[in-house]
């Protein structure tokens, strides 16, 4: 009797099975990271475009864009702050309960017994503030370097959308703790939404056309801030607005690529000089590269600039920069979180208003204007400002000074002058209104419509507009007018915010210092 050996192919299959099993860890790694070690131009390229999280980046980055002064990292810092709020926000959702009866208690639990809860909440709060600040600064950077100009006009509009969403996220997050601060800030916010009634009332239209009432009803789901409002704000804060923000962010990043990368001066290559010898090799193999593919596409091709000779591989140059800025943002948020606890006042009490009831700091400029006319301060002037900002890229079709700080006719001197005019005018109007009051104090029974049209906010806006029109004429350049207008609005925003934060006390009266407030 002969014992038959197993069929050879069967034997082979088993052997192959074990060989495959042994090889699995290495193959998992290979299949996940296809390109291999990113140490050549090719593998570096694969590293970037072969990765879903990185492929929005270009494979190579212009050296100008990596200069600190080009962007100051503000865009990445905004994104980093957003990611921090996203992560910490999701963590807070483990414990936060959006109902008036228990929301405040759950905040106390987060502060006192949730492991790392207090730190996470503090980081969330500070990252949100940092985000508002960096988004505003990022916008200013984009404006002053002329980055809104063609072909980037539309991305400027997307950016404005992102600013509005950022403010919306901050504002909706404000109600969730359900403390006095939250309750009264949101009550004021909701009534600002209702403020178009100021105009419809004056025109006798409120009966038939109550857009203000409708806005408030949609925001609060009721006539006062209550459980309906809380669940709506929660939904907006954790779902609708973040999704919207992520969608717009994707477009924003995509458009950066499609619009030819970050803005840089036309003569950036010349200014940078030759690539440093120790740096990565420049594009040498095919010096006569053509852009036939681009030529096939109808219409404008994506801007490709002047060839790759002044670019460096994004991996690792760009990523070190991005990682460093991200880590810097984290460090700042954590440090602030350790230094200062996020505020949590007493439980919301619909019977006892906070005095003063202050909105978050970035809205205190508006609150200062709202003190005269709810409609103009809360809807009218912000609307005018947004409209003006949105129009800038379509009105300024000049090329001069793109990619340079304060580029354009007038340049730094003009911005400096605008700073004086902007601050001076805002300060003068504020000081006048604080010292002498406004129409209501002079003519007690005046129609509100007069104040709506003629109040410190509108006067200031008119001065700024007149000044920038004068600049357009004087320099024969729209850019000059835009520089003046933007600078002035920035000054107005900063000054009104400062007054709102530090110089307004109970009953929105003027105080030199919070220590002068009565009862303290």
């Amino acid at each position: 009797m002969v014992v038959l050996a197993p069929p050879p192919e069967k034997h082979d299959a088993l052997r192959r099975f074990f060989a495959n099993l042994r090889a699995t860890p290495a193959r998992v790694k290979d299949s996940a990271f296809r390109g291999g070690k990113p140490n050549t131009d090719r593998t570096r390229s694969t590293f970037v475009f072969g990765n879903v999280f990185l492929h929005l980046h270009p494979v190579r980055t212009h050296r100008w864009s990596l200069r600190w002064t080009a962007t100051m990292g503000l865009g990445i810092a905004s994104l980093a702050a957003f990611l921090i709020t996203l992560i910490t926000g999701v963590l807070l959702m483990f414990y936060y309960k959006p109902h008036p009866a228990i929301a405040y208690d759950s905040m106390k639990d987060i502060a006192f017994v949730v492991p790392t809860g207090n730190l996470i909440r503090n980081i969330h709060r500070w990252a949100a503030n940092v985000m508002v600040l960096t988004v505003i600064l990022h916008m200013a950077r984009a404006f002053y370097t002329g980055a809104y100009r063609a072909p980037r006009e539309f991305n400027w509009l997307i950016g404005m959308g992102l600013l509005v969403l950022t403010l919306g996220l901050s504002f909706t997050g404000y109600l969730l703790p359900w403390d006095q601060l939250a309750y009264w800030a949101i009550t004021i916010g909701a009534n600002i939404a209702q403020s178009p009634r100021e105009v419809t009332d004056a025109l006798g239209l409120t009966e038939t056309f109550d857009v203000g009432g409708l806005q408030k009803l949609l925001l609060l789901g009721s006539d006062t801030v209550g459980e309906e409002a809380l669940i709506r704000f929660y939904l907006l804060h954790v779902m609708i607005l973040p999704l919207g923000l992520v969608a717009l962010l994707s477009v924003h990043f995509w458009r950066i690529r499609k619009d030819g990368g970050l803005v840089r001066p036309a003569d950036a290559d010349r200014r940078l000089g030759p690539v440093h010898a120790a740096d990565y090799p420049v594009f040498t193999e095919e010096p006569r590269k053509t852009y036939q593919l681009a030529a096939v596409v109808r219409g404008k091709s994506g801007a490709v600039a002047r060839g790759p000779e002044n670019t460096v591989p994004s991996m690792p140059h760009l990523f070190y920069a991005e990682l460093a800025v991200t880590m810097l943002t984290i460090a700042i948020c954590v440090a602030l979180a350790l230094v200062s606890d996020a505020p949590l006042k007493e439980l919301a009490n619909p019977q006892v208003p906070e005095n003063p009831a202050k909105a978050p700091w970035y809205f205190l400029g508006l609150q200062e204007l709202v003190a005269y006319s709810a409609f103009m301060g809360g809807v009218g002037i912000p609307g005018i400002v947004l409209l003006g900002l949105g129009l800038i890229p379509y009105l300024d079709r000049e090329k001069d000074g793109t990619g340079e700080w304060f580029g354009g006719p007038g340049g730094k001197a003009l911005v400096l002058q605008a700073l004086f005019v902007g601050f001076g005018a805002a300060l003068a109007i504020e000081a006048f209104a604080i010292r002498y009051g406004w129409l209501r104090e002079w003519i007690p029974d005046i129609q509100q419509l007069w104040i709506t049209v003629f109040n410190p906010g509108t006067v200031l806006t008119a001065i700024y507009a007149a000044y920038s029109i004068w600049l357009v004429k004087r320099h024969q350049s729209t850019r000059a007018g835009a520089l003046g207008l933007f600078t002035c609005f920035l000054c107005g925003f900063v000054l009104l915010t400062i007054v709102g934060v530090w110089f307004r006390g109970p009953n929105w009266d003027f105080y030199w210092s919070p220590s002068d407030w009565p009862g303290h």
């Binding site: 140490n39 050549t40 131009d41 090719r42 992560i87 963590l91 483990f94 017994v113 949730v114 492991p115 790392t116 809860g117 730190l119 996470i120 990565y280 090799p281 594009f283 040498t284 193999e285 690792p316 070190y320 990682l323 460093a324 880590m327 984290i330």
Partner: protein
């Protein structure tokens, strides 16, 4: 293909990276360490440090006319209390199989979820339950009983 001519260097070749990029490596490791530490901290958050349920030690007064062998389940609690001549004892009514609340009946307890049956002393008589119903610690103080749902006592212990 072979040639003795010196090969023209290509940008696709591995380039002469600095042999030791200490700074780059250190910065990446530092960032990674920070990330790991932060993740560890974050991972602690979902594990609650205190539970929001009330204390499982509680005081209860048995009805004066509770017949011997009949269970008394204090409202909102998951123990059945019995009183006989030897004293008071408490049997957990949480099924040891998958945590349903068992129902006291004439012979003991029955579980509505997967059909486990228990004898009056908690022993399993039928079904998938892997262990008998535990007895809980009872201390009698006058007319009140202090029951501790967290402390088990050997079956047969009566107070």
């Amino acid at each position: 293909m072979s040639s003795n001519a010196p090969i023209k260097p290509s940008r696709l070749d591995p380039e002469p990276v600095p042999r030791r990029d200490f700074l780059g490596k250190a910065s990446l490791w530092a960032a990674a360490a920070t990330g790991v530490f932060a993740t560890l901290g974050i991972a602690r958050l979902p594990k609650a440090a205190v539970l929001s349920s009330p204390s499982r030690k509680f005081k209860v007064t048995l009805p004066e006319n509770l017949p011997e062998g009949q269970a008394f389940v204090p409202p909102g609690r998951s123990v059945a209390l019995f009183r006989d001549k030897e004293g008071v004892h408490a049997v957990s009514i949480v099924c040891t199989h998958l945590g349903c609340i068992v129902k006291p009946n004439a012979n003991g307890f029955e579980c509505p979820c997967h059909g486990s049956r228990f004898a009056a002393d908690g022993a399993v008589t039928k079904g998938p339950a892997p262990a008998p119903l535990p007895w809980r610690k009872v201390t009698v103080d006058g007319s009140d009983c202090m029951v501790d749902e967290d402390a088990s006592v050997p079956p047969g212990t009566k107070a």
